[in-house]
Amino acid sequence: MNSAERNATIYGAILIASLAAPWVLPAYQTQLAFLWIMVLFALTWDLVGGQMGYTSFGNIVFFGIGMYVTAVIQRNLHFDIKEYVHVAGAVDTLQPGEYLSGLFLGMGASAIVAVIIGAVLGLCILAMGMRGQYFGICTLGLGVAAGEIASGWDYIGAGSGMVAPVFPERLGERGAFFYYIFFILTVILFLTLKWLYAGRFGLAINAIRDDEDKAEAMGIRTTRYKMTAWCISALFLAVAGGAAGHLVGFIDPTEVAFAGATFGVWMILMAILGGKGTLWGPVVGAVIFYITQEVFWTYLFGWQRVAMGALIVGIVVFFPQGIMGWMRERWPERFGHRVEESTLSSSAEGGGP
């Protein structure tokens, strides 16, 4: 079996398993939907944090923005706002058509809003030449600030949050519906990234990661590439956020939308666990992280966080480059890195990105 055939087999198996999963494990639909959100989190984070080497702590901002934009559009499209505010959300159940139109329009609008905000923030942070720790701290502030703004803004429910409409019964299985939304979204993201990483874009952002000054000196328009990567990340996070708000059902400003302490940290952990700067790393990391987390939650009641912490320490000690990074080092030929026999002994490090 050559590598193209092998790849086709792997992709085919994953595709079939993913399509069948909600029907094989009907009780786990919602959790599987969250699994795709996690994969999406890790992939979008890795685009900026791994491939480009800009460790961001604030990507969650776009997730929250998407959540709120979609919820607001759903609300404004179908309800009289004055009445809605007056009765604090006491509203009738939506028809399937209304629910879907609100949801998808909202997700579309989220994408636009997030890219605009991403561009503005990018201009302020990236175009100003913020790098390294400074960039990290800057983005850390973004998430916190967004949560505080949302908590104080009455139009979007302030601290009381917003409630998504109840899922219309005629649309069938709620879990499966959201599962496929997140599945499709993640597949699109994955293919987009695969295509991007294979071309000039991938090389350029890798060059930025390896040595930004040198990259710039070679004529790469670094700011443009950085902004593009940041905005792509924002776009997918926002669209996912829009649907996630409806999946969770209740949008709390700091604990669901701008949940930096949970989702915001997890997306980094998952990417590092799987191996940052690789295409499959974030996917593998997210799957392992999420399944482990669910298992710990069930069987290590009350100690789940401790166990999770221990696991993370273990991962960092044994696999500092993440699972994929470790595998790449061990079996470089599987990753398309040919190692000459004569140089094998001298370059133990083997294989670049």
């Binding site: 919602t30 006491a90 509203v91 009350g302």
Partner: protein
């Protein structure tokens, strides 16, 4: 290198194996002769103190019911059990866990989490699957105007928590021959669903009397300091300061008003008991007004626990502290559920839901009678004042055991 490989393989195998176990162990709602309730409660996170009260309340009810022989549904008597998860004080997690309890564990009867936020996270899920949820710790009124059919709350909703303090303020003004509309009110609440509702209720009542709200602060969720608000209080001299921020907010208000010697004629709080302000701050807690859903001194009774005081004794013997109302309302939730199961004589969720809706029951916690929206309308809030280290009910007059001391003595006279 080889050892790392083994570790990786072991890790993957372990995860896969445990995943398989998870996939195959679905518990039924009624197993043999046991009825299993499901609950996601905050064991960790910012609500963990009250989450513990909630769990203790549930557990005491279960223990008592099993002690008394169990619950008779139809012709058979069943033991009771609760399956718990930790919602980590977040609504997102609570919602996921509701889904897990219902779909994976096959639970048909859900008990509420602690707090309005997590309850808001769970309600859309239980509603979707038409599984009844009886809760005693989600007081936000926003839970009861969504048309939820399967959500029932034994407690009084949050906008009523401190409304009584405004009435009390108006009464005191009239006694002094002053016009209640000249009263000035200061509000400082945590920015979360529950406390924001408290604020809404207080503002509504203040408006009714034409009182002026001169300070209206939102406190951050990481409540560690409210000196900014208290400095304003010192400068603007309101007639009443209303603070709500769960246990942390209560402790903070008592501690910092004492530290800064803030003289305000009336200080009204929620969660005094849960925060144990008397135990922690002693004399500094005196004259604080505390809204309570329930107190051991009340005279309600039922067949399971006897009087409220008997419940308190039983609880203290079991857990070593006086039950705060968060525990009592949790216990009451289980009792309401069990009563409905007995009356329904069936485990059919629709029948049980209808039986819960038809509840008219006196428990040690108070009367329970749900309106169409699922909230209990038969039990009023009570306002107690800490006097010489003891909680004395002062309003409404039906429950009053003493006179309210208004205004609070100045700090220099204490």
């Amino acid at each position: 290198m080889l050892s790392k490989g083994k570790i990786l393989i072991a890790l993957v195998v372990a995860v896969a194996a445990v995943g398989l176990v998870v996939a195959t162990t679905a518990v039924a709602k009624v197993e043999g002769d046991t009825i299993i309730f499901g609950a996601a409660v905050s064991f960790t996170g910012k609500y963990s103190t009250n989450g513990k009260h909630t769990k203790n309340g549930y557990d005491l009810a279960v223990k008592r019911l099993n002690e008394m022989g169990g619950v008779k549904v139809g012709d058979k008597t069943y033991k009771v059990e609760i399956k718990y998860y930790d919602d980590e004080s977040t609504p997102a997690r609570a919602g996921q866990l509701a889904d897990r309890l219902i779909k994976q564990d096959g639970i048909k009867f859900i008990l509420g989490p602690y707090g309005s936020g997590p309850t808001k996270g769970m309600a859309p899920i239980t509603e979707k699957y038409k599984i009844p949820m009886v809760e005693g710790n989600g007081a936000s009124r926003a839970l009861f105007n969504k048309g939820y059919r399967y959500l029932f709350a034994v407690l009084t909703t949050s906008e009523q928590y401190l409304a009584e303090s405004i009435n009390l303020l108006a009464e005191e003004f009239k006694k002094q021959g002053r016009d209640p509309s000249t009263a000035k009110v200061a509000i400082a609440v945590e920015n979360d669903p529950f406390s924001m509702d408290i604020r809404a209720g207080v503002i509504e009542d203040a408006k009714r009397y034409g009182m002026k709200v001169i300070i209206d602060d939102k406190l951050p969720k990481e409540l560690t300091d409210m000196t900014a608000t208290l400095t304003k209080v010192k400068a603007l001299r309101p007639d009443a300061l209303i603070v709500s921020g769960h246990s942390k907010g209560a402790a903070l208000a008592v501690r910092q008003t004492a530290q800064m010697k803030v003289d305000v004629p009336m200080l009204a709080l929620t969660h005094c008991e849960a925060a144990d302000v008397v135990g922690k701050f002693g004399g500094d807690a005196n004259y604080t007004l505390c809204a309570t859903q329930w107190a051991p001194t009340m005279t309600y009774k039922d067949d399971w626990f006897g009087f409220a005081g008997d419940y308190a004794k039983r609880f203290e013997a079991e857990y070593g502290y006086v039950p705060p109302y968060q525990a009592a309302e949790s216990t009451a939730s289980v009792l309401v559920y069990v009563d409905a199961l007995q009356r329904a004589g069936s485990f059919d969720t629709e029948k049980v839901r209808d039986a819960i809706a038809a509840t008219k029951l006196e428990t040690f916690y108070g009367w329970v009678d749900f309106d169409d929206t699922g909230k209990n309308i038969a039990k009023p809030m009570v306002l107690r004042q800490v006097q010489k280290g003891v909680y004395i009910p002062v309003a409404p007059s039906k429950f009053a055991a003493g006179q309210v001391i208004y205004p609070r003595p100045l700090w220099r006279d204490r």
